[in-house]
């Protein structure tokens, strides 16, 4: 197939031959659990790094509820079990992809958008897991000021963008067109990274694109009533994409597959725990990063717990169709000149356990 992919499979095979338990099936006496209960593909044993290894994980921003599984894995000793010592880095507005591709950081939290751009721009990264199974972002307005219920209601509003107008307008216009409204009828205001809800309250913008699990929950907590057009309701219009994702560089996959498998599987265990125990996982995050707002993290954890895995057969599972769909969307809208090789952009090979092959 592709060189990288076959190399990776080869190294996996080597690991198996050397007795590294990359995955292990249940012992057969277990009840076959349904998908919602099984987050780990039936695995009961997990990969370990060959030797004690220090790894650096670059988050995408300050720690928040999206990162619950990493902190749960740290607190519960899953990384220790995997022979790993993990250091968390909290970057600002900086290209995590470049640092991960260069091997300066071993793993990173990215988004399918940025990973796709990075790969298209010659910065090779590989997505190892979808941290949240579906796109949980949405366009919101303050209900009292500018009620919206479908994309067409957004026409004529001022949208506070974060500085990628090509992408943001493409998404907005596609949504508008799907709902029969005029494209370009939303006014783009570049506001950068600021508190969008506050800008809407001050009537400087009317519309914002947020992660509902973070800013949406925050708005609810502070008593702001938001109207939302959620991306997940319009996947037939703008294709679904994974946001956020766990990435690494090709060198890691090729040279240290044992470390990659160990890290991904320990992380999967952390997210499995967070799915079943959002409150406890939130406390672990707060224990590690006490400066965070407790109510916000707990509410975010509660909101995200069912979203991490959602309808996937195990946590982290990614599909080629999602990677293909998004790169096609970017090419169709003239944002990328040529698409990326969707099949090489991600791998499920390091996730714990196995899932039955897709029937389609």
């Amino acid at each position: 197939m592709h060189l990288k992919r076959s190399l990776m499979l080869l190294s996996l095979a080597l690991m198996l031959a050397m007795g590294v338990p990359v995955w292990a099936q249940g012992d057969g006496t277990e009840e076959p659990s349904d998908q919602a209960d099984d987050h780990l593909g039936g695995a009961t044993e997990f990969a370990r790094a060959d030797e004690p290894t220090d790894v650096i994980l670059m988050l995408d921003w300050t720690p928040n509820a999206n990162h619950l599984g990493f902190y749960a894995a740290q607190a519960l000793g899953y990384y220790d079990d995997a022979n790993l010592s993990v250091e968390f880095q909290e970057p600002s507005d900086i290209q995590v992809e470049a640092l991960v591709a260069n091997g300066v950081a071993d793993f990173g939290v990215s988004f399918q958008e940025f990973a796709t751009y990075a790969i298209a721009g010659g910065t090779p990264v590989v997505s190892l897991a979808a941290i949240i199974q579906h796109n949980t972002s949405g366009f919101v307005s303050i209900a009292d000021m500018h009620p919206i219920s479908t994309p067409a209601d957004m026409a004529g509003l001022r949208y506070g963008g974060f500085g990628q107008p090509d992408l943001e307008n493409a998404i907005l216009n596609t949504l508008l067109a799907c709902d029969g409204a005029e494209p370009d009828s939303v006014e783009y205001v570049n506001v950068g990274y600021v508190d969008l809800i506050q800008l809407m309250q001050q009537d400087r913008i009317d519309l914002a694109w947020i992660f509902y699990g973070v800013q949406g929950v925050q708005a609810e907590l502070s008593g702001v009533d938001l109207d939302a057009v959620m991306m997940m309701d319009y996947f037939d219009c703008v294709p679904d994409y994974y946001t956020p994702i766990l990435i690494t560089g090709p060198d890691m996959v090729e040279q240290q597959p044992d470390v990659v498998a160990a890290f991904v599987q320990a992380t999967a265990r952390g997210y499995a725990y967070a799915i079943d125990h959002p409150d406890e996982a939130a406390n672990m995050l707060l224990e590690a990063v006490p400066e965070l707002d407790s109510d916000l993290i707990h509410a975010g954890a509660e909101w995200l717990a069912p979203e991490f895995q959602s309808d996937a057969p195990r946590w982290g599972e990614q599909q080629a169709s999602v990677w293909q769909g998004y790169t096609d969307f970017l090419v169709d809208n003239g944002i990328l000149e040529s698409g990326i090789d969707a099949g090489a952009a991600f791998t499920n090979a390091f996730l714990p356990g196995t899932v039955p092959a897709e029937s389609d």
Binding site: E87, Q89, E90, P91, V104, Q198, Q202, E291, L292, D293
Partner: protein, 283 residues
């Protein structure tokens, strides 16, 4: 000199009186500033529909936030930031003085170094953030580098100006007496540069803590910059003010230390030229 002051007031008392008058003045200005800001805010809020609590926490709230994170700040964040600051400032002093000496030493070097110095101050830190990490990794290296970038410029420029300001008559006298150029440098030029060196150092000290926080903003595990960022992304303005005030206090402390060292090192300068210490000058 003492003849100028028949009614000799003990220097300590004089200094104390000055300090009292100075703090009174600062207090009055401070009150006006706070009230003025408050008034500006009220007028802005009338237009912008702002809630005061969203933007400015009360001092009590800030104090509670400090209490909540006191041990974390004192054990992790502040020591991290201070280490980066002091390491960066020390390197900046050495680098600044060496550059100033080189520029003083040779006209050619001056032509080469001067534009580089200026350009170094125009680099937006975030534009080279990736480069800093690629070169220095994730430890304190990138933060210290940012502090050095912020701080070496005022030291270098002011020290150079000071070196150039040496009394030419004194220099020709020394030359006439057969002094070597090294002697001329150590006995005249270097002492002449000291007051402006300290002026530059004072500016550097003022910026150094903020430099470290900039560095921590790029990426870090601990430090006041991390605390500040975490606070903002948790929508905790009261916590953010703790970081802001801590930064201000640390910067102020550093400047006071510089002033203290200056006073000890340059007693001759202030006693001979000004008839006494008058507090830090502005150069």
């Amino acid at each position: 000199m003492d003849g100028n002051r028949p009614l000799a007031i003990p220097p300590l008392l004089r200094d104390a009186a000055r300090a009292v008058i100075l703090s009174l003045a600062v207090g009055v200005i401070g009150v006006f500033f706070v009230l003025g800001t408050r008034q500006l805010y009220v007028e802005a809020a009338a237009v912008e529909n702002l809630s005061f609590d969203d933007i400015v926490p009360t001092p009590v709230e800030v104090y509670h936030a400090w209490q909540q994170y006191e041990s974390l700040l004192l054990e992790k964040h502040i020591p991290t930031t201070m280490w980066e600051t002091l390491a960066g400032l020390s390197i900046a002093i050495v680098l600044g003085v060496v550059i100033a000496a080189l520029m003083d030493f040779s006209r050619l070097l001056r032509w080469i170094l001067y534009p580089i110095l200026v350009v170094s101050q125009t680099i937006p830190i975030f534009a080279i953030a990736i480069l800093l990490i690629l070169v220095f990794g994730f430890g304190s290296g990138p933060k210290i580098t940012v502090v050095v970038l912020f701080c070496f410029f005022p030291v270098a420029l002011n020290t150079f100006a000071g070196l150039q300001s040496a009394d030419p008559e004194l220099l020709s006298l020394l030359r006439a007496m057969g002094a070597s150029s090294v002697q001329a440098w150590t006995k005249v030029r270097l002492p002449a540069a000291m007051p402006s060196f300290f002026g530059g150092l004072r500016i550097a000290a003022t910026y150094s803590v903020v430099g470290a926080i900039f560095g921590e903003y790029i990426t870090a595990q601990y430090g006041l910059g991390v605390f500040l960022k975490r606070s903002y992304s948790s929508f905790r303005i009261d916590q953010a003010y703790v970081a802001i005030i801590a930064t201000a206090v640390l910067s102020l402390l550093l400047v006071l230390i510089v002033n203290g060292v200056e006073r000890l090192a340059l007693r001759w300068y202030y006693t001979s030229r000004r008839g006494g210490w008058r507090g830090p000058g502005i150069y």
